[in-house]
Symmetry: C2
Subunit: 619 residues, 2 copies
């Protein structure tokens, strides 16, 4: 199964708006912040003790992800100025690469002579991101300087980690290079990269050298508590885990390793059936930025890092490329439209690292003061973090969103996602005309596919789908497979996208008795600021949902206005229960991705329900 690369696709509508904002605002803004904070210049390797902006162990990865973002942007919208910025960085990297191929701005300045001694210190992670950047830039421009630098560096890594086994650890502390090596293998066709990836993945959880870890961590944190093929549950640092699972899936796809693929499917199912927030967020605890346990999904204490949700979408995309199943696409879509997109502000400049599912400022304050419950509460996105991995991860994700759309083989083209778009690849042309995710009509026009099948994913969130007005049902894999009989053929789909109430599995104690308002792939939330400062803990939604829509230009989608109830104030601390002691209100909900764009506010996804219906005594 091949993937149609994003650069073969021109989007419109919702995602075009996002891509433009990403290119015009986010990518330049991330560059500026990285320049100001010393990240960009760190690759000059001039830092000396006493200087400001001391390089950090992960700074190269930040710069690499920015290059990768910029390269994707250039692929669709050539930009000489942007290329100059990248070239300047490549100049510096080239200049400072050691004769044996090593490059890491931290170890070349802060701890010279200590390279490959500390597993947790992100060297292979940085190398991985630089490999991805190099390939992206090469693909976008044909410039192969950074690619060659990284190939030379990988040769060193092969020598140190495989041939000599001379590093003080055996596998990456922060996984990432595995999936990058697969990209390098795909790009060059050189099997040594596939072999190195396999070496890292197969050695993981088996190496004595890797037993040395910091006191605050454990082997589970590093996904090193067992050989990867034995994994049953997603555990440990959620971003590291997600990247590793991507590498495992990539390797399995290229080697036909069914044990490895089975492990990937188990992990995917474990995450998506027991450990994923309804926003597509994962990693529910800040302690180790990690997966916690099955069904432990607190809303206010959620960690749910943007990078982890991106990693989940990447993992889901890979799984669906190997075996097309709508369950994978559903998860990728959930992450894409919710936890990932919430990572960036509507103005494109600011970012969330943690994406909480509930903000209750007073409670947070009271928890700290009275119960020593501490968690970082960031109520507004900011432009750069000390550990600023998420912003350039988001920019590269949005800049290459088209990667998620199509896969194909000789017999079938799979439509995994819906967005206004035109794609051309291998003699095939596919056009999607749709206002998705705002409306459920999707007209798909295909050319050059006569005799092949079009397999169209039926989103898990819809209860009714029609083709040319006739109801259709998904097959076992979640797709409708349609033979293409004409050179040019039009398919008119309609996915019912009525706003609806969703509940969580009863095992999720934090959501017990609560509902979430969803419409299509979008999860909605209520903000107090958009509702006259109402105390959201007093609000319940009419369970016989009556929802109105209100388009918002900045969000490029709808707010939902619905009937709700506010508990009536009372003088008594306790009183006889009266379900009608409420007043009817109109509650404005907004897509989760757009929260925290209206000033500091309480926010809530999971709401109580109440059924009063048309009773005139209320409100």
């Amino acid at each position: 199964m091949k993937r149609v690369s994003f650069d073969k696709i021109r989007t419109g509508g919702f995602w075009k708006y996002r891509e433009d904002l990403n290119r015009e605002v986010s990518i330049p803004s991330v560059y500026d912040r990285f320049k100001e904070t010393g990240r960009i210049d760190a690759v000059k390797c001039l830092w000396k003790e006493g200087d400001e902006n001391k390089p950090h162990i992960f700074w190269d990865s930040d710069v690499a992800k920015w290059i990768e973002s910029a390269a994707y942007s250039i692929a669709l919208n050539p930009d000489e100025e942007l290329e100059k910025k990248i070239d300047a960085i490549v100049d510096d990297i080239e200049k400072n690469q050691t004769p044996d191929g090593y490059f890491n701005s931290y170890y070349l300045t802060v701890e010279p002579g200590k390279r490959f001694t500390v597993r947790d210190n992100h060297e292979l992670y940085c190398a991985g991101h630089l490999i991805e950047a190099a390939i992206a830039y090469y693909n976008a421009t044909g410039k192969d300087r950074l690619l060659k630098i990284m190939m030379k560096y990988v040769d060193l890594i092969i020598r140190i980690f495989v041939e000599e086994d001379s590093a003080l650890f055996s596998t990456p502390g922060h996984e990432e290079i595995e999936l990058a090596l697969i990209k390098l293998f795909d790009c060059t066709g050189d099997k040594k990269y596939l072999d190195l990836c396999a070496h890292f993945i197969n050695t993981r959880g088996t190496s004595k050298k890797d037993k040395e870890i910091p006191s605050w961590a454990d082997q589970m944190y590093y996904q090193s508590d067992m050989p990867v093929r034995k994994f049953k549950k997603a555990r440990g640092h959620s971003v590291r885990a997600g990247y590793l699972y991507c590498g495992m899936a990539d390797l399995a796809a290229r080697t036909g390793d069914t044990d490895l693929l089975d492990a990937c499917e188990r992990l995917f199912d474990n995450i998506s059936k027991t450990q994923m927030y309804i926003t597509g967020g994962v990693g529910s605890t800040a302690k180790g930025e990690a997966f916690a346990e099955e069904y432990l999904l607190p809303n206010d204490l959620a960690y749910s890092e943007t990078c982890a949700s991106i990693a989940l979408a990447m993992f889901a995309r890979r799984m669906s490329e190997i075996t097309p199943k709508a369950k994978y696409d559903d998860v990728a879509e959930l992450a894409m439209y919710n936890c990932v997109l919430s990572g960036v502000s509507l103005d494109g400049k600011s970012f969330f690292y943690v994406n909480p599912l509930e903000i209750n400022i007073r409670r947070h304050d009271r928890n700290e003061r009275f119960y020593d419950i501490h968690h970082n509460l960031l109520t507004q996105r900011i432009e750069v973090f000390g550990c600023s991995c998420c912003p350039p991860n988001l920019t590269r994700f949005i800049a290459s969103i088209g990667d998620y759309l199509y896969t194909y083989d000789d017999s079938t083209v799979y439509v995994h996602h819906y967005m206004e778009s035109e794609a051309e690849f291998d003699g095939v042309k596919i056009t999607q005309q749709t206002r998705y995710p705002n409306h459920g009509e999707v007209r798909i026009t295909v050319s050059g596919m006569k005799g092949r099948n079009l397999a169209v994913r039926i989103p898990g969130w819809t209860d009714f789908v029609s083709l040319s007005g006739e109801e259709i049902k998904a097959g076992e894999n979640g797709y409708v497979t349609l033979p293409v009989t004409d050179e040019n053929q039009v398919f008119d789909f309609w996915f019912n996208m009525d706003a609806k109430l969703v509940c969580a599995n009863p095992e999720v104690e934090d959501d017990a008795g609560k509902v979430c308002v969803c419409r299509g792939p979008l999860v909605y939330c209520a903000e107090s600021t958009l509702n006259d400062g109402i105390d959201l803990s007093k609000v319940s939604i009419e369970s016989d949902l009556k929802a109105g829509l209100e388009f918002d230009e900045k969000m490029q989608t709808y707010k939902i206005i619905l009937k709700a109830y506010e508990d009536m104030p009372s003088d008594a601390l306790y009183r006889d229960y009266d379900p009608k002691a409420v007043r009817g209100i109109k509650l404005t909900m907004l897509p989760y991705f757009a929260f925290a764009n209206n000033g500091e506010s309480d926010m809530k996804i999971w709401m109580r329900t109440k059924h009063i219906g048309e009773d005139e005594t209320v409100g």
Copy 2:
């Protein structure tokens, strides 16, 4: 207004069972544990560095409260053996009282020469409890040896704290002696005790000397952040606060100080309208064992110390003695039947210090592991604590429960509470025939009251009261005032006591959307162990409450069996909301006071509701 002392009252029924258990099991058991842990023998003042059982600063108060309990028991049930035990302790105290009157087993052994130097070290608190013990023992037996010891000690306190002002602090760090001094004034008629009480109360919050406090505390902790007459909100250590408020009310009652009484009423209203658990528990945070803030009443993190609830009942009783208002009695009753009684096990041997309103063992464990949320979770009562203030507080409370029943003046006898009982005082005889708190019929027979009024409290929890079958309504103060026209007269009351659902003020976020099952003064809870180990987070109660009753001998009251629903299991992590995706179950609830008598268990008071009613598709 005079109070009818408990020793003028013989109870039957529910409280007789409790009194007997208290006398036969609890009082001896507390003595044995105090003997084993060195508390009883600490008053011998023989401890030397290196010895085991080093006296603690508050041990004298433990012993004193035990003496007080035993004295109350003796007053109703003479017991020579018990007297011998008390006399032996008095011997030791007498022997070790210093010539100038001082007695404190900690300072006489562990820190000799340091007396009255550290405000927080409980010397005046211990003295206060010893005064209470002395009076109780004197009243029960006429033996005045301990009383004289304490009068001599108080003379020293007057010299040190008033005449010389030579202590390193001005007012007690742990209040208690204030109310004890009022008892001593009432007992002896000597105004110097009233004056000392007034001195402590009036000096509080005004003294420069008292500014010296430990680093972990603040003035609010000690109720010393302002002069007491300015208090608007209950704050700081909840037991200290409660005892102080008792002393303030006592002083106001005897001096006619309306400013002080107004402060007491403000504090009472603040507690009962904004800071009290539905169990009558107060002090919602373990941090400083303190009142937190208005409407902050978390259930699992509740501190809700037994002593604090006893102090609240004591305060409420005093307020109702000054100005009879049913709101005071309602609070005293709530505490009495719920948070206070939950402090002791059904077998009378073991005690709770903290009385949580929810136990969720898995969540507690997960909170610790994944969110660094730590709170002591004691799922079973234990026989003695390191700080074992609650057990002897409970035993003295139960042994003198009759104190709560009646107050009177020349014109009116007030019936504050209901219990099967006979009382004789000042030529009046009042008999209550009732199965209260299990049934709502109360026959009150009065003799010797012709020409006076009988004022009968209408409990706040009832919605219908009849007298001889005719509905009656409470007056503004919450009582029905009935003229007594015959020498012997019978009043047949009936309080509707149907089980019902109660909700909290919407400001109490932790109880939002939840209900509590109550019957009469009893608050009910669900335990997983009594319900086949069900996960209580999955349970909702049918809001159209259908409750059956099942008598339990050990509890001397009813369990409630009601219709409830358990959320249906699901394979999906998220699914379309369906209010009927539940199965009907019978849920057994038990009075809160009886929880944790059935092995380690999850427990919950505040439950979700659901209305499905008679739908046959459920269950």
